[in-house]
């Protein structure tokens, strides 16, 4: 399983390096004496292709190891059932951030995310979201004087 994952990763990185190299060649490359804007990215693209090929070869030739534990995180079992709605709501709110304005967008984001993660009592959900939206609005807009989108409400 890990071997297959590493092969996919190596292939993706190789393609990324290849794309970088191809697009770099569309810019002026120049030479080492008078480098163009494309020279450095071209070198990096080729380097990435080389390293990812090495990674693929090592994966193909190596013994199967137990899955590596990601550094800095505790290993957990996962459920993707919430991740996609979580991300989806984030994308949706971001898309309409300027139209809705900060207070409304932050309120709706909190309501949605709290519901997705399990806060299903509407009173608690709405109250928390309202307090957060109002509190953050006053903190950033009135106290720190940071301009945030006003949206159609004009707040």
């Amino acid at each position: 399983m890990m071997k297959r994952d590493n092969l996919i990763d190596g292939l993706v990185l190789f393609l990324f390096g290849l794309l970088t190299s191809v697009f770099s060649l569309k810019m002026p490359v120049g030479n080492f004496r008078a480098a163009g804007s494309g020279l450095f990215p071209l070198c990096l693209g080729l380097l990435l292709m080389g390293l990812s090929l090495l990674f693929i070869l090592i994966t193909l030739g190596g013994k199967t190891k137990p899955a590596e534990t990601p550094v800095g995180t505790v290993e957990k079992s996962e459920s993707s059932g919430r991740i996609l709605p979580f991300l989806g709501l984030l994308v949706l709110i971001t898309q309409f951030f300027n139209t809705l304005g900060y207070p409304l967008a932050s309120f709706l984001l909190m309501v949605g995310l709290l519901w997705i993660l399990g806060t299903r009592q509407w009173i608690v959900n709405l109250l928390l979201s309202l307090v957060t939206a109002i509190g953050s609005y006053f903190l950033f807009v009135h106290w720190l004087k940071i301009p945030l989108p006003k949206g159609f409400l004009g707040l």
Partner: protein, 501 residues
Amino acid sequence: MLESLQHLAAGFGIATTAQNLFYCLMGAIVGTLVGVLPGLGPIAGIALLIPVTFGLNPTSAVIMLSGIYYGAMYGGSTTSILLNVPGETASCITCIDGYQMAQRGKAGKALAICAIGSFMAGTIGIFGLVFLAPPLAEAALAFGPAEYFSLMVFGFIVLSNVTGGSLLKSLLMAVVGLIIGTIGLDPVSGEARFSFDSTALLGGIEFVAVAIGLFGIGEVLTNVGQPADLLESTVTIPRLKDLFPSWEDLKKSFGAILRGAGLGFGIGLVPGPAPVLATYASYMVERKVSDHPEEFGKGAIEGVAGPESANNAACQSAFIPLFALGIPFAPPTAILLGALLIHGVTPGPMMISEHPALFWGVIASMYIGNFILLLLNLPFVPFFANILRIPKKILLPLIMLFCLTGMYTVNNSMFDIWMMILFGAIGFLMRKRAYEAAPLLLALVLGPKLEVAFRQALMISHGSFSVFFQRPISLVFILATFIFLLYPILRIGIRRIRGRN
């Protein structure tokens, strides 16, 4: 030396006036707040407050603005430890072990050791500044493009493997980071690269978006994917005795703090993002010298004490090239240079003789500012640690809103938010596949400077690569890089030979 001490004593007399103490306190508080909020960095904080200083005398103005700079270093570690969201770019490394300490109910210890370590390192940095400023500034001038390129290549190779995982995977991420760093305008010719006719991409990918995305959003998504019962839980509620470091913790951290302070002070003299480099280097060193390197990445207190001390010391030593040569080596000191010029003060070799009150007053105020920050931060440790009592199903949406808002405040750009979300998804996938974010971030920061140094060196040498080997300092770094790369292979070979024998 005696003369310097006398000047320093006079400086304390200036810094301890009621007015200057007030401005030092204001700068420290604003700096801490700026550091805590993801997105807002010391540059934004200093720039926002310059107009406020127009009515002040130059000494008071610089005291307040300097307070924002090192205050931000203190504040940046708070969200790194509690939420795995780096509050400031130099706090990324603190996320690694600081967050793990928080997950194990030791958030208070991590926060306290940051404050203590930063104070000690700041104190050491100030004395270094007083006694070593002129000669060290001269030494920093010996770095030309070739030396700078070789130093950064060495730094990349060494620091890419900062957490000890797979070196090849780290190098892959570093190269990806370098490629991402080329998006935008060519730093030498100004031509557009990989912008695909997009105005947003012309400005490049904002570092803060990548940092918050990879560390903060990536962690949030990882937690969102947990089983429902874990979302109902809180992090281990800290016990009273875990709120502050024990004597054992202080003993473990003491060496790390001293090493971090020394490293940070030295690295702060080199042009570039010195605090970021200093934290990576300190983490690397602590992992190497530790008797228990396997604890790093799982909540080793040295992994917090060292980098935070290095961060603060680098911040202090960044003032050396600014004051002694009039050359800002770091973006926040560039803003401070602007503030000094606005107030009619020209930093440089003559500054000490023409404005002794300002020079020694600012140096003395740094020590006072560090003391104020220690007093401000330590009592708030229990308050901050108890944020982790909030159940994750409520905490995660709050973090998400926090990140979204903080990201928008950087450039008022929706593009930055999209990048943050994209890199959040990438960060989540990277965690699943055991790829480290730290090398990618380091490469993103250093990449443009690496390219400029590379091209400048080759322009000077008319395209000849011998420039990197003919200049002594550059040759030393190149050799060190080869030794570091070949050492693991040589070690395996030597072991096999010994095994056969």
